[in-house]
Symmetry: C2
DNA sequence: AAATATTATGCAACCGATTACTATTTAGAA
DNA sequence: TTCTAAATAGTAATCGGTTGCATAATATTT
């Protein structure tokens, strides 16, 4: 099997009797080449099947036109939406993406960061994995002036650029809604409190209790992972309480779905006995019974904003350090799982 | 803000008074360097904060040590598992991945293929989007002897390397199980029959009917997309039938979950009135009521096999063209949604 | 018509690592 | 001790674009 030799600008230059400099400029539509040669060269490149060698280009120009995206996971529709938002903006601006995910592990996150660094990405968009304790593995980017935008899972106190929702408010709204539905003993199932998203939501939960003269009870807070077995364990922990709660605010829709399943299997009626509010507005919420009340997490918007700000910074038309934090609107979506007042029983 | 200059092998060579050739060899642990200089050089590289310039390396060696992965989508746990399998094998072999997804669109798939091609990946692993009609955009890889392994969504008649399950058998098993449960009028909700996975499952469905003396009825087959609104439409189409079916084989778990929801909302009891079998063994199947009977799709295994075969081919210890098709085992997982015989009613 | 400005192109160094080939040193064999 | 082979290391060309600077060609101004 023989392989056709790769066409280079030298081949094009030879064929047309011009210099490689002219070819290079023409292919980039550099205005210091005449329109006629530009057309001639582009036509020839096309007909010869030329494809640019990005390594040579990046080596020389020290630019890759590539953005690295570090995701904590990629199994939720939230993350998929974020990605879609990033892709939309990036492709419009002719930036390529390298997408990596850390499977919720710092170790992998560090490896991923290193890889992106070695691949010389021009910028980074990242969401932290659940056990990340510090941002030292992002220092390498700052040392080289490679901009980083965090989204969703961030360190709120750092002054890095970030795109988030108001998790405190969302947690508050979710809890207040349960209270408004008549719940008086509200449990909270959440995940690693190292992560801003979860600690903030919990802060909102506490504040809502406080504002409604309900006592915060540590025994009603369950901290677990986000996988099926974690959620099952969390549900069992709830079931083991001496007095069952009459409402649960769960920080993730998939978890909420699993918890609901376990509770239903134990004969509990939702929302009559226990009302449930989830978080994320994942697809899953619409196919469980009862349908899940949740917080809509505007992933597509977040992705667009993150990519937009990063790329504008790269282009020099915007300075990321000026507005470090962008807060995107989120909102409560009320479905059946929390409607205690109008409760028709579900099994 | 000043940026430290990038360290190159020239800097290391200067510092130690050796040639760049020696440095290059030492960093690669080439045995034609003495152990002592090798140690000296690696230590110096480490202390100077050297990082290899992959562009220079790839430019010169014409190898990228990178595998491109084209996914039709990335929102199912099946795809996530495949990815995990690929990543496991690739990282063990020190290959990098570039993951792209086509959002079920040929147009995007073509762009993605082109991008991977221009990035000069050493090999490709791909699953086709729902409307791909031919493999012409993969021709470019073959022309350059870049190996491609397809998985899941493939062209079965082509002799490209591929990793699949026996979709015919799975469709047969799913349908036979419904028949065994007493169903006599079985509908089938599926997606683009251009895709082998769906057409083969349907072939299995038909064959199972035939083998059990049940007539195939075109009106009982609904072809739709895989999104929520598509599934809703499919369910409504079922509900609009003059005579309702007593069983449905649905080619995707998420669709099945949505369909179940719509049917339940219409007052139909599952599995008593209609028994349901899904496909994929997605997480969602465990949190719907009743829990979903489905076909387990061994994504992790498929990913591992695809990556393994590709990398071995790249290393020259294996020839992909020798065993073009690998079939991975799949199996029926029986849960509640299909158990008509032992039916306790679910609402 | 001469002087100046503008436009288009070429020259050649450069980005950083790899590697075929050559040279030197050292060890082992005769 | 002399010669050959093996072990190390160096030289320099190469991968394919990019770009500052110089030059030539053409247009504009005076």
């Amino acid at each position: 099997m023989k392989v056709k030799k790769e066409i280079t600008i030298y081949d094009i230059a030879d064929k047309l009797g011009v210099s490689t400099a002219t070819v290079s400029r023409a292919l980039k539509n550099n205005p210091s080449t005449s329109l006629s040669t530009r057309k001639k060269i582009n036509a020839m490149a096309e007909s010869m099947g030329y494809r640019p060698n990005l390594f040579a280009s990046s080596l020389r120009s020290q630019k890759t036109h590539t953005i690295g995206v570090i995701l904590h996971e990629l199994n939720s529709s939230f993350i998929t939406s974020v990605l879609a938002g990033i892709e939309k903006i990036a492709s419009e601006a002719k930036y390529n993406l390298i997408i990596v995910h850390s499977a919720e592990s710092v170790a992998l996150e560090e490896v991923n960061a290193r890889n992106l660094f070695n691949k010389r990405v021009d910028g980074v968009i990242a969401s932290l994995s659940s056990d990340t304790e510090n941002l030292s593995h992002f220092q390498q980017f700052q040392n080289k002036n490679i901009p980083v935008v965090f989204f969703d899972r961030v360190f709120e106190k750092s002054d890095d650029a970030k795109v988030i929702i108001n998790n405190f408010q969302a947690g508050y709204d979710a809890t207040a809604h349960l209270i408004e539905q008549g719940c008086r003993r509200i449990a909270h199932i959440t995940s690693s409190l190292k992560r801003n998203v979860y600690s903030e939501r919990m802060r909102g939960y506490k504040q809502a209790l406080l504002d409604n003269n309900l006592k915060f009870d540590e025994k009603l807070v369950v901290v677990e992972g986000l996988k099926e077995e974690d959620a099952t364990r969390a549900a069992k922990q709830i079931l083991a309480l001496k007095t069952l709660p009459d409402g649960i605010f769960i920080t993730n829709d998939f978890c909420a779905a699993v918890v609901m399943q376990v509770l239903k299997d134990a004969g509990i009626q939702i929302p009559r006995d226990i009302a449930i509010v989830g978080f994320n507005n994942d697809n899953i919420g619409k196919v469980v019974s009862p349908k899940l009340t949740t917080i809509n997490y505007p992933g597509f918007e977040m992705g667009k904003v993150a990519a937009h700000n990063l790329i504008n910074h790269l282009k020099g038309v915007w300075d990321l350090s000026l507005s470090s934090t962008v807060v995107i609107k989120s909102e409560l979506i009320i479905r059946e799982s929390s409607l205690k007042k109008a409760s028709t029983s579900h099994k």
